[in-house]
Subunit: 502 residues, 4 copies
Amino acid sequence: MGTIVINRENEVCFHNNVDYCVGTGRMGLALTKEYMDQLKLVQDEIGFSFIRGHGLFSDDMAIYHEYEENGVTKVEYNYTYLDRVFDQYLEVGIRPYLELGFMPDKLASGKQTIFYWKGNTTPPKDYSLWCDMVKSLLIHLMDRYGKEEVLSWPIEVWNEPNLPGFWEKADMEEYFKLFHNTFDAIKSIDKRFKVGGPAVCGGTDEKWISAFMKYCHENELAIDCVTRHHYTVELPEPEGHYAYHKMMKAEDGFNNLKTTRAIIDSFDEYRGLPINITEFNTSYTPQGVIHDTNMNAAFLAQQLSRLGDVNESYSYWTFGDVFEEMGVPFTPFHGGFGLVANGCIPKPTFWTFAFYKQLKKLGGVCRYRDEDIVIIETDNGGFAGIAWNTDHDTAITKNVELMDVLCGQSYSMIQKIVDEDTCNPLKLWHDLGENPYPSKEQIRLLQDASKPLIKSCVLKNTKESLPVEITINKNGVVFFEIKPVNCKPDRGYNYEKVVSYR
Amino acid sequence: MGTIVINRENEVCFHNNVDYCVGTGRMGLALTKEYMDQLKLVQDEIGFSFIRGHGLFSDDMAIYHEYEENGVTKVEYNYTYLDRVFDQYLEVGIRPYLELGFMPDKLASGKQTIFYWKGNTTPPKDYSLWCDMVKSLLIHLMDRYGKEEVLSWPIEVWNEPNLPGFWEKADMEEYFKLFHNTFDAIKSIDKRFKVGGPAVCGGTDEKWISAFMKYCHENELAIDCVTRHHYTVELPEPEGHYAYHKMMKAEDGFNNLKTTRAIIDSFDEYRGLPINITEFNTSYTPQGVIHDTNMNAAFLAQQLSRLGDVNESYSYWTFGDVFEEMGVPFTPFHGGFGLVANGCIPKPTFWTFAFYKQLKKLGGVCRYRDEDIVIIETDNGGFAGIAWNTDHDTAITKNVELMDVLCGQSYSMIQKIVDEDTCNPLKLWHDLGENPYPSKEQIRLLQDASKPLIKSCVLKNTKESLPVEITINKNGVVFFEIKPVNCKPDRGYNYEKVVSYR
Amino acid sequence: MGTIVINRENEVCFHNNVDYCVGTGRMGLALTKEYMDQLKLVQDEIGFSFIRGHGLFSDDMAIYHEYEENGVTKVEYNYTYLDRVFDQYLEVGIRPYLELGFMPDKLASGKQTIFYWKGNTTPPKDYSLWCDMVKSLLIHLMDRYGKEEVLSWPIEVWNEPNLPGFWEKADMEEYFKLFHNTFDAIKSIDKRFKVGGPAVCGGTDEKWISAFMKYCHENELAIDCVTRHHYTVELPEPEGHYAYHKMMKAEDGFNNLKTTRAIIDSFDEYRGLPINITEFNTSYTPQGVIHDTNMNAAFLAQQLSRLGDVNESYSYWTFGDVFEEMGVPFTPFHGGFGLVANGCIPKPTFWTFAFYKQLKKLGGVCRYRDEDIVIIETDNGGFAGIAWNTDHDTAITKNVELMDVLCGQSYSMIQKIVDEDTCNPLKLWHDLGENPYPSKEQIRLLQDASKPLIKSCVLKNTKESLPVEITINKNGVVFFEIKPVNCKPDRGYNYEKVVSYR
Amino acid sequence: MGTIVINRENEVCFHNNVDYCVGTGRMGLALTKEYMDQLKLVQDEIGFSFIRGHGLFSDDMAIYHEYEENGVTKVEYNYTYLDRVFDQYLEVGIRPYLELGFMPDKLASGKQTIFYWKGNTTPPKDYSLWCDMVKSLLIHLMDRYGKEEVLSWPIEVWNEPNLPGFWEKADMEEYFKLFHNTFDAIKSIDKRFKVGGPAVCGGTDEKWISAFMKYCHENELAIDCVTRHHYTVELPEPEGHYAYHKMMKAEDGFNNLKTTRAIIDSFDEYRGLPINITEFNTSYTPQGVIHDTNMNAAFLAQQLSRLGDVNESYSYWTFGDVFEEMGVPFTPFHGGFGLVANGCIPKPTFWTFAFYKQLKKLGGVCRYRDEDIVIIETDNGGFAGIAWNTDHDTAITKNVELMDVLCGQSYSMIQKIVDEDTCNPLKLWHDLGENPYPSKEQIRLLQDASKPLIKSCVLKNTKESLPVEITINKNGVVFFEIKPVNCKPDRGYNYEKVVSYR
């Protein structure tokens, strides 16, 4: 490959919103300790703003109850568990992205459920009871957490109604009814709530989003955002507990996302309306073995470099592997969605997110982006970037020439390297014998082995540009930061002498 | 190099007492938070049994006081700080190795002090007051911590009396007087206390140890051990705040240690008496720049493989860099003695100790030892060892053939690698510009960069022996463990397919 | 009341096994953070040895699975959650008392379930599959935690089979079949496992225990203990979510326990066999409002003074209020079984247990016991005890005369007082308005208000006995300790002057 | 006493700045763990904004160094310890109030030192070297912590120069020279720094402050505040290690403070200039036995109700008992200045500060203040206040009538009570025998016994005012909060029935 010339005048589009939101297993699992341990790790190292998952109204959260009094059926709400979960979220600095669903059994019109954990996915037996429940929820939350705080939490109505498993018969008219009723109920509490839908997954997304926008248009619903999902694999090949997928071409996925943008922008009043990708990942099953690999990390590095192009936000599904949709995992590495494997072991993809977050913190302006690399000029006068290798079976090298640098200035370059040789807990777990129940010592070893390798060097330019070489191994992701440095050794200290003396 | 054949019948002498004792900056520094943070790190990862340092009776510990009452001078003791320090020690699972010294100013016969922190190094003005102080100390300790507990703490009388800085005029007769008085005082409390001396450093060690043994012999002192120190560098070349040393030949040091053994064994009643090396390191100054390097780590790996040959124990001087003998360090990396740099950054040598401790935990029997490697057969039927590269400017490879292994059995091999490329915080600090006051982010980065790289693989033998290759980079130390492994994949899981699918 | 004379010769029977075992909500709840927070609090302050609860094999623990392969139904086990729970238990120093139950849905012969959380309470569809599951469990546990460790965990077969809700039709023959099969399966793994039953509750306990002993006798089952439950309230008066009970006469309960002893002792080979009360409390419902009161604490003080008389152990049902048998509680104080209310608020009864544990730690010999007080002479030459006031609407005073004390010796007396005025979080919560969702500040206040009041004084005797007065308010529990004390003020310190100066 | 009528229209002056600043032992002690443990406790419960103490430039902080190079004496600075201390401060949310002093030995013009820890209290040998040191310090701090952050830290020049021990000969002219030079040096870095003096203690305060203001006036120094100290005891009666004082009349102290205000306000350009009391307490010695008593707590409650009257701020001397001016304390309770005794035991006065902080957090407006009580109307529509009993040997009762309250409204009243019966660790320590080296168990007991007793009740008014009775025992301090409360019991819950059932 040729040399990439980085010029301080060149401003390149790059919308990095990596830390806006992340997905989670069903709300009820947030009561568990392992879940919170994993979330704390994620927040300490990455720090997302919002968290979104299913099952807020499902029966294990125990919110909706009916009882008889004097022959009359009455409703009572119980927020004991909800408060416990949300208190914990706020303690680790993350806020709920409220997905309203699924249906409490007592409020349901039917018996259809989804998943091992049996979320009811039928419409309400009575829309006014549903709306009461939604309003009561918001009022309770504002009481407990403060009005302005709760107004900052986005709201999404239901999940993937375009799949019959998630919404009985994938009945579009019924979903629009649900959406309309819910939208009105929320706005009756406070117009400033941000409400979106239709939360569809791919496949029938064009059809649903078109119809949804048309419905909103005709009913003059001033929705606040459009939500959809984004997965990038072919149909799986199942085997025992597991699913093996081939990857889609990334470009096909990006093109599909643009269709949503185009549909929305075709309505005058909705032009430029934010799109929130409220779920994305490679595979869409929690047994998708790719999730644990370095390949996933490299593929995601590319995704994160481009998902901001037409979308306001994109929420990785999910932060951790405490998740029960297909049952309880038999082993720590089982293809779960999480950035973190059970046992609080960061997977390679964890670091892809951490790297993008670190890039975001450095501020500055994007100066270059291509299919393997993104480079910014930082606020502190240096450069930083991320490079990845998704496509090659051998290492690749990116040659970069930083222009307009002071002649004779030294630069320190730090690299953080995640690849199959440096940060590959899945391989270690395999080499240790694929123990389904690792001992404490093994867990500790796996955690120790799942950190990026850190390398440093000092670069000196001899002219007014600085050549930099970044090598990325197969399925690798490399974060780099290059900063001007002026070393003033302490009196008597001579590093070269220190390390050469014998 | 040829192939090392490891035979299960071959038992090799190897006395690994790596975790018996470690050195520390003066006792008063144990009150500080940074000191305890570093000690906690050391105990969590390595876990020493005892800790030994100077200054127990120095004035910052505030133990000895005189006051006038009715014209009479009286003595009172204050154990407020002593208790605080020892409580903290016991909390992190380490016990005091009691070094009795230096002299409280009020009890001193002279004004001579040593170090930036001004420890008085003159004999007591009154030996009975000194003995009272020692006895009162032991009685207080037994009251607070229990008799049996305190009896398990070894006691050493003074430090390096063969240097005039540490003991006025290096007056041998006076030291023997101090020792004799102290020995009798301690044994008068309980005969079971373990008491040793003369705590000399090299140079005049032969002369002093000979004379000391003769003195004990003539005075029929049933001493419990002999103590001495062991440093392995040539005279330093000073420069500003720092000292640059060349290394001694390791063999010269080991030979010197054997002379002590020979002297002791020449007395019938002392033959086989334990020798405790109560201090050892490469350089003997806290500005000895070598301490922070990977070379130090590799050199120490060799030392630890042999120091147990004639000595019962050997105490690395020191666990951490909270230390003030030459003043307060100007930068985090300044050649301090510690296993840990200020900011809680493990130095490469930290891992040498951690590796030997891990080896010790695996139990088993030593099967091979040479100048670059030690190999044990573990209790669990596998093998483990440590290899290092002190002498070569390029990587070396040790070829090992493990005999008597089951044909067709798979083995998992874990390696932990500390070398200039994988675990070199000094270089990173240098590359970042040798900042004397690193920011929190830099400290965090330095900590993250000071962990061993972990590698794993599966070895399969095709005959009844297993060939293993260990490569050690320049100044590297490698820990390895090889265990039989029987991988039973979960239903449907196929690792090769997981990582090859695309 | 008259004076109680405490004589050092008088040894009184008092078997204090307060910390042997404690009950818990179903095993699956042990995955939650609030559960573990409460358990940690309990272990820090009280420290039980074992923990027993239902639902080890229930579906939320996800242990038992069936799948089809080539047309054959096969079984697989999943210990992911089990390990997580037991790892956590051992981390806080508590071990499982294994209650084997309830039935995995796939292994059940019927559909009957119990509780909000739907534990299946029907016999296995196939006893050999059940026995395989039990054996597989024990083998897994011994692999993970060590053989000797797991052998120390007691095992009980099922729970309250004499209630039709817990065991279909309360079918006694079927239970004996279950017990016999399970007993044999366990002993086939290792004869040293301790196995007991029939875990019955009151009501039909005599009938069941007689029949059970007879069955064991006839089948020559060398059982290791007999287990039963013990609740001490009349039938409840229900109202909304809550149950109001009147207390039984305590004596009736103690008499009922003696019948079990008598039945067992009537068999030669079982005479003296340990009885474990594997559940006890006042009310047997988790909405039994009495549990949160000071009255409960005082009543329990009496129970704990006598339950050891004929029983080896007695396990309070339960340590905390994370519990779902009747659904999710609507408020923090709701009459749950726990020693700790949700929000980690110790209830008064928590301190009754803490006091008995403190008494146990002091060792020594019981010198006196009546219906309101127990007094021991401690190992350290002092006295300690617990007094309570269950029966009187006003304060009572116990006058004690300690004999054989040194004339002129001072004694320090510490009292820890839990009563309606000093430690009454329920009242505080009520006074704050019975908020179902207390804020962080309110939770903190409730925690601060749920500590015993500590009082101290110095007693001086003028003759060879020491009079002591203990006053206990209505529903109060008082712990007291009396120790000889020799105050040697520091030079110049005069306490009386310090506090009188103005 | 008569009834206090609280009217919602009546606004009373009350400047509560309780949490602005707190004093500390010398900076070097901030390196210790016990110091930070105590500070963390203080910050968790009270939360001060700033911390001020001596010894920033003293030699144990090791900032100033001289060395020779080529025959020339050069200066170098070392901020290793300074950073460590300030990093720790900021971590617990407290910022330095920079007191510039004392003199590094190498920079001093003389040998005079103060205290056990030997702070040099002589003028600089060279004012330009002093100013360089001050400027270098500020530049370093701004580099490390950010410019705006450091600009918010107040600066005071030296300490108590009106005492010859603190400033050689109490030489006023020399102090003005020091002040002027330092003031100019600081302002040359950034004019926005807030600089004050002369930090005098009582006795010659009028003379010094008059002269200081005149000097500033004549030299046109735009100083930012005036600083002084405030102690309120008579001369001590010494005895052994301790000092016994009688209290001054409080009014005399308040009057003395007003003279400072008057002097400042007599200068047109300084009228209304803030006065910072940079030290206050009852006794001015760290062996002042009163500090540990409940009397001190009650006396301070009164001080805190009035110190804001003419002063912007007032800094209690000191937060904790890690303090070495008179040497190392022999016992945990020794009359140290601290809010916290060694062993992390809050003294009664700790709670006086906690109560005023809690009052401040409730916001609102002061409605009443007299010599024993202060009452505010809170932002949430309730009332809160603090009452104390400094003068009476028996309990006193304050009768309060809250006007303008809704008829029939219920109020919950919470009281937190600190008095000799409820929160008196000194007495407990005495009763336990005045152990100088308390065991862990004793420390824990002392901590448990040093919490306020919390009481609650519900008040119901029957007319449009609400009578409230506050009883304060001898030397007691009572915090109270009264809030409207609407109890809506959960379905079926009846508190009265719960607690009356038997």
